[in-house]
């Protein structure tokens, strides 16, 4: 066999490994049988059951509230931070960059417990930051800011500085320059960063697990507690829906970020 053949065979096996588990879940979500994995005929009843008791609605609403709020905050903070980091030299820039990478690389569990500790510590002094959707949002913004900044910053690196300089020479102030010159050039990067932040938030389990209080159950938290109780066809159905949503979001991100 030639090297290319081996590469193809190996590639096919890796793809099989990546997709077999996903395929199993999707197929079983349409299976009539509640127990076991034997095929008993096609049904949509697990999807119907999922939405019947209405609880999933409130988890979905919590997830969306957290994702939209945290994405809005982190997109603004991150875009501004990226602008400053790309433009200016200043004391502590290296330290700030290092701090920016901490949420990207630190194990989630460490970030989760450190936020839990922070909120508890603040509660000793003021009657605020009780574990709720608010603390979840604060936690999500913290990791989102890092990703948004890094994505927008890489977009800014490819920007021709002479455009802004020309605008400045023609008398445009900082604010005008941003809205008329810089933003129109970087917006695809900003949108891609926002979509990334949104997806990260919807997907997050670990940070939410440590920062959510009672009544702040999001979809991943619900999935975790259901899975701990056992495998059910409703979870197959919910998982399939989430895979579908993720795929659509992903295609949207690719469309936007490949725009030049």
């Amino acid at each position: 066999m030639t090297a290319r053949r081996w590469l193809g065979l190996h590639g096919a096996l890796v793809l099989l490994f990546l997709y077999l588990p996903i395929a199993v879940i999707v197929v079983l979500s349409f299976n009539e049988s509640k127990y076991g994995v034997a095929w008993h005929g096609f049904t949509l009843k697990w999807y119907a059951q999922l939405f019947e008791h209405g609880r999933v609605h409130s988890y979905l609403r919590n997830s969306l509230v957290v994702a939209t709020t945290s994405t809005a905050i982190s997109t603004v903070l991150g875009t501004l931070l990226a602008l400053g980091l790309a433009r200016y030299r200043f004391f502590g820039r290296g330290a700030l960059l290092f701090l920016l990478y901490v949420p990207v690389v630190i194990p989630d569990v460490v970030m989760g417990v450190s936020l839990l500790l922070l909120f508890a510590w603040v509660r000793q002094y003021v009657d605020a930051l009780h574990l709720s959707l608010t603390t979840v949002i604060l936690g999500h913004v913290t990791f989102q800011v890092a990703y948004v900044t890094l994505v927008v910053k890489s977009r800014l690196a490819g920007l021709d500085p002479s455009l802004e300089e020309a605008a400045a020479d023609l008398g445009a102030g900082g604010w005008t320059r941003f809205w008329k010159i810089t933003f129109p050039l970087i917006w695809p990067g900003v949108v891609a960063a926002a979509l990334l932040a949104f997806t990260l938030s919807l997907d997050d389990f670990v940070i939410t697990f440590f920062t959510a209080g009672p009544g702040a159950t999001t979809v991943p938290i619900y999935i975790f507690s259901s899975v701990k109780r056992g495998v059910t066809p409703e979870i197959h159905a919910l998982s399939t829906l989430m895979i579908l949503v993720t795929s659509l979001a992903l295609i949207a991100v690719q469309r936007v970020s490949t725009r030049r």
Partner: protein
């Protein structure tokens, strides 16, 4: 284009984000560090005086005798990280070349990214469905007339689940390097009489190193720190450092000891990252996103 920034420029741009990072990244990290020297009080909260007891307990130097429980757990976590990384390289390294030489690059990339973005609880859950007693694997084995296997819960399941979860983290940065390979170097090596293996090793492999190292970090770090995969696929029987931290901050409610364990884990990670940042610089750090 970078110019010195005065307060007037920095405050509206870097200011809010920097303040956020200080408040929610730097301060909590310092708090964890501080708490790791405190003790648990009767209500499960923290109290003084400052001691090294938590670290003594972690490293098995407790007054009660020599107990290697937590060092063993740390070792087990590092082993999981190491094995996962190696298997991911075996699976992912050729795969990055497979994508690069394929006429359907974009489709293949999308196929790698999709499981990457599928919620990792679902990905772990899928392996429960496969490995459980009456699961897919045993159904297939039964059809083949073979005996059923008991893989859930087990370390095997934890290992498979971890590789499965983090494999795309290796492929994606690696592919970014493979895509940029200058193949004329390989031709030059062949012209100079290098055989296939030395030619690859000297002319191609070094060019893939930036992506490979970024990928190794992106697999190793979360694999060492995971608690969810072992919680789900090991069903509480497979204890990793992540599980210790989660339990101390959860049911055991010994936040001081949990902080010490978290700080040890963070120390391992930050040491590796610091080494990487010194070698790779700001550009190298960007490969991690």
């Amino acid at each position: 284009m970078s110019r010195p920034g005065g307060w007037k420029r920095l405050l509206p741009t870097v200011g809010p984000g920097a303040a956020w990072l200080v408040l929610f990244v730097l301060v909590p990290t310092l708090l964890i560090f501080y708490a790791s020297f405190l003790q648990r009080d009767a209500h499960g909260w923290l109290t003084g005086p400052l001691t090294l007891d938590n670290y003594r307990r972690f490293f098995g130097l407790d007054a009660g005798g020599f107990d290697l429980l937590y060092l063993n757990i740390l070792g087990r976590s590092l082993l999981l990280g190491l094995v996962t990384t190696l298997v991911a390289i075996v699976l992912g390294y050729p795969f990055a070349f497979f994508i690069a030489q394929s006429p359907r690059k974009n489709l293949l990339l999308l196929l790698v990214v999709l499981p990457f973005w599928t919620n990792f609880l679902i990905r772990a859950y899928a392996w429960i469905v496969i490995f459980q007693r009456k699961g897919v694997l045993n159904a297939v084995l039964g059809h083949l007339g073979l005996d059923p296997v008991q893989l859930y819960p087990s370390w095997t399941a934890v290992y498979v689940g971890t590789v499965y979860t983090y494999l795309p983290f290796l492929i994606l940065p690696l592919y970014a390097s493979v895509e940029k390979i200058d193949w004329t170097l390989l031709e030059a090596a062949h012209d100079l009489g290098a055989g296939r293996v030395p030619g690859f090793w000297h002319a191609v492999f070094p060019q893939t190193l930036p992506g490979l190292i970024a990928g190794i970090l992106l697999v190793f770090i979360p694999a060492v720190g995971t608690f969810v995969i072992s919680d789900l696929l090991g069903a509480g029987k497979t204890v990793l450092i992540g599980n210790v931290i989660q339990q101390q901050f959860g049911a055991s409610r010994d936040w001081a000891f949990g902080s010490a364990a978290a700080f040890v884990l963070m120390g391992v990670v930050l040491a590796g990252l610091w080494l990487y940042a010194r070698k790779a610089g700001e550009r190298g750090m960007e490969e991690l996103v």
